[in-house]
């Protein structure tokens, strides 16, 4: 690979600042909010609560219990006699509703006893005492800003930013109920490196990685883009710190291929892909690309694909044809960008190679601690672009890989494609060139589908 002549074409990391759109990560830092106030989060936000309790799996209803509601006119004596008749034992009465929580005999099942009691003409209803739960919500204090993961219609950024539309998200909490991924699943971030000291990343990074831009073994981020992308894919989650990553438990392998300006030569990119595939990556995120095709780049993708690595690549931010390597359709998922309203981002590249979309506007993620004044700001930043979209898909691929390690790369790619929500079906029904099969949906990809007659 070193013999490969460096091409004059540089690979622009899809830092939106490097593309002409005004929606760049850098611009988010410098323009969208004066003096970074909008893009970095003020320390004062630290007064966030500790997050909601964590959901754990449990029974659907209380074993051996029923809730029995009698008609309002029915007397307590009659209720007691009736309950005794069925061999049940009263636990609690909610008088306003004439509702009784009862314990049923060991020999009876909840369903059968519910059916038997509901036949009594004085009974309004009888059924299981169902369990209610708070959905999986990580305790990361900035999770509430991550509309991409869970959109409640909240403001997507600092005051003055737009509000999202409820459910225009990738349904991460529902998906996490099925799996939070495994620590054995490794997502390689082939980008500008990673901040190894970032509090939301340092425990997720499995090795120093490799720096192909400077030919050394230190993949420390000198641009910010790689740290940002890594946080979306797999920031330390439920650690009472910062944000949640899509691949909750997945680990990160840093591979630096761009220079401090966010540009890379194809040979370094090729080297990075091959190195990641040979060094334990199960998923590769490529939030970068160039306009030129190159057979060696394609073959590097094929090499990783054939080794069982799922690749998510940003489609590009030029409102033009899909960039490479995303355009190598057979070997990677080309990811377009949607926004907090599930609308396609205007700059998102398009073409038949687009497989899916993921939120790419006002996406909050990690930012190098060395690039912000930590006395004043938290090391997080809002960014826009398909760079933000691809790591959502990489995180999902990591979750699937951990949950179903027996699936092939192509099967995982199909699971991601076919479980997407066709959010632009009114204009383009079915798979289209703009968002492919649709905006990814983690819940549909992971949670068992209930079969109904």
């Amino acid at each position: 690979m070193t013999a490969l002549n460096k091409k004059s074409l540089i690979v622009a990391a899809l830092l939106l600042g490097l593309f002409a759109s005004g929606d760049s990560l850098q611009k988010a830092r410098t323009e969208k909010a004066p003096e970074r106030a909008a893009s970095a989060i003020r320390r004062t936000i630290h007064s966030f609560d500790g997050g909601l309790p964590l959901h754990t799996k449990g029974p659907r209803y209380a074993p051996g219990q029923l809730l029995v509601r009698f008609k309002p006119s029915v007397s307590t004596q009659f209720v007691n006699a009736t309950l005794a008749e069925y061999g049940t034992e009263k636990i609690k009465r909610i008088s306003q509703l004439n509702l009784y929580q009862v314990r049923i005999p060991d020999w009876a099942s909840v369903e059968e006893m519910a059916y038997a009691i509901s036949q009594n003409p004085e009974v309004l209803s009888a059924g299981p005492n169902y369990a209610a739960r708070i959905a999986v919500t990580p305790n990361d204090p900035l999770f509430r800003y991550q509309y991409a993961l869970h959109n409640t219609g909240q403001d997507v950024g600092p005051p003055g930013s737009p509000s999202g539309r409820a459910s225009a998200d990738i349904k991460a909490p529902a998906g996490w109920e099925e799996t939070k991924g495994t620590a054995e699943t490794v997502i390689a971030i082939i980008d500008s490196g990673i901040d190894f000291e970032h509090p939301d990343l340092k425990n997720k990074i499995i090795s120093p990685g490799h720096d192909f831009a400077n030919d050394d073994g230190d993949a420390t981020d000198d641009n910010g883009h790689g740290t940002y992308v890594a946080g979306i894919a797999a920031a330390d989650t439920n650690n009472n710190e910062g944000i949640a990553g899509v691949g909750w438990n997945c680990k990160i392998l840093p591979v630096k291929v761009t220079d401090a300006e966010g540009s890379a030569w194809y040979d370094d990119l090729i080297d990075g892909i091959l190195w990641a595939a040979d060094n334990g990556a199960h998923v590769i995120n490529l939030s970068l690309g160039g306009e030129e095709s190159d057979d060696s780049l394609r073959d590097a993708l094929k090499y990783a694909h054939d080794k069982g690595v799922v690749i998510a690549a940003s489609a590009g931010n030029d409102d033009a044809a899909v960039f490479y390597p995303a355009a190598y359709d057979a070997y990677c998922l080309a990811v377009a960008a949607t926004d907090y309203d599930d609308a396609r981002a205007s700059y998102s590249c398009y073409g038949p190679e687009v497989d899916v979309a993921a939120p790419g506007e006002w996406v909050l993620s990690t930012y190098p601690t060395t690039m912000v004044d930590l006395n004043e700001y938290l090391p997080y930043i809002w960014g826009n672009g398909t760079s933000s979209s691809a790591p959502h898909v990489a995180g999902l691929a990591g979750l699937i890989k951990g949950l179903k390690p027996w699936l092939t790369v192509d099967e995982i790619m199909d699971v991601i494609r076919f479980s997407s929500d066709d959010v632009n079906s009114e204009e383009h029904s079915g798979k289209d060139e703009y968002i492919g099969y649709g905006r990814i949906n983690i819940e549909k990809a992971l949670v068992p589908i209930k079969l109904s007659k």
């Binding site: 060991d106 199909d414 076919f418 479980s419 589908i449 079969l451 007659k453």
Partner: protein
Amino acid sequence: MRYRPLPCSALILIVVLALTMPAAGQDPRGSGDSGFSAGLSLGYLSRALSLNGEEQDILPKMTSLLGSLILEYKFQPGFVLAAHIGYSLSDFEGITFRRLPYSLEIDADSGTIGGILLGAELEKSLLGGAALGLDIRALFFASLGLGKEWELPGLAVEGSAKGKPIWMKASAGPVLTYRGWKGVAPFLYPCFDYLWGSFEFEETVQELVGSEKKDIKGKGQFGLGLGSDFELSASLRFRAEASLYPHQDGTDYAFMIQTLFAF
């Protein structure tokens, strides 16, 4: 289907015992010396299942409605063999298939799956003559699911899943019958009971295909049946039976009614 040594050995033992023991006293099925009878059987069973130790969100369960035609042959007084052929309607709930590309969950809303029902029944008197008789009985039923297809909702493309359950049930044990009353013979049937089988799913979403097969097993391996034979006329008999199957998570049950006409 995996080989099940315990129930098969028990069944073989019962059959061998039944064939080698001399016929005694009163006939467990009617008064004729030998000949054919035919009739109908209707049954219902509700069984909690275990899935090879797999944890499920809720207790997996199977209920099945069984209807069959019976052809019975009495070889000699006190020794009958019957064959069943019919149809079963089985409902499953609480079973999740997670090895498919898209995991699937079968629950109470998933509908009924039909199947061909085949069965055999053997009954032989061991001790008779007095008011209390001791017989031995062995039953075997197999429901060969015909399969059911579901559309997979919510996906970006069309997809479907086909489920096919096959289950078998074998029971064997002594029958203690009171024959002191004319025309009515109540009985008690403590038995070893084993229910096993498999449930297979095939999923197809365009070129994405997957299949998963789960072994199922009924919880509890002992049952207690309580029933009665009614001799309505010299050629018409009726049997009703209820069974309980206790296990660590509760008690399952089954009901069965049969009517037989002797030629």
